[in-house]
Symmetry: C2
Subunit: 89 residues, 2 copies
DNA sequence: TAACTATATGAACATATGCTCATATAATTG
DNA sequence: CAATTATATGAGCATATGTTCATATAGTTA
């Protein structure tokens, strides 16, 4: 159950959900995420580090930007289901 | 997104997941949950209070026992999906 | 190479969380 | 009614969490 809880814990923070949702729609650099979500560069980077640890996102370098994209389809699917459910009621 | 995060936060604690999973299989009194999950009566009751607040469980009295059962099918469904996913990998 | 840009990271802090302990509430039984 | 059983709840505590601030790292460009 701890593993399941960990997956949900990842999705239990608004910032992380917003980051993952953004990444579910487009690849993003750290700065772009910070700008769109109106978060500090540092806060975004910390959260991305967390998501990276859990292998929920992957990175590649492009020039001196780091481009993030999601890596775990199942988590994205769970997230979208939850969003849909929250919208329809 | 806060609403979605709240739903996931509920499922982000092992104790709550275990309680909900148990309730997904059978109605239970507080004492029974505590016994099965080897948790304190107080800890179980606190968590049930939390789950009740979010309308994820409902209660009825039976003698001097309180019988809990789950109330939100969608959350149960998300939980089971996550468990299945965790098992198969 | 020096200056610049983008990102990462460590420390510190304020808040949130889940538990325990003690006690309150409520129904049942003798 | 008193004692018992089952559950709820408030206070307090230890730990976890997410953010900010300052700074480090790494690639790019003049």
């Amino acid at each position: 159950m701890d593993e399941v809880a960990l997956m949900f814990k990842t999705l239990s923070d608004p910032s992380r959900i917003r980051i993952l949702y953004l990444l579910s729609q487009e690849e993003c650099s750290v700065g772009h995420i910070a700008e769109v979500l109106k978060m500090t560069q540092s806060a975004v980077s910390h959260q991305l580090g967390y998501l990276r640890t859990l292998r929920l996102v992957k990175v590649r370098r492009e020039g001196n930007s780091m481009i993030y994209s999601y890596e775990d389809d199942h988590v994205i699917s769970l997230m979208k289901q939850a969003i849909q459910h929250a919208e329809h009621r």
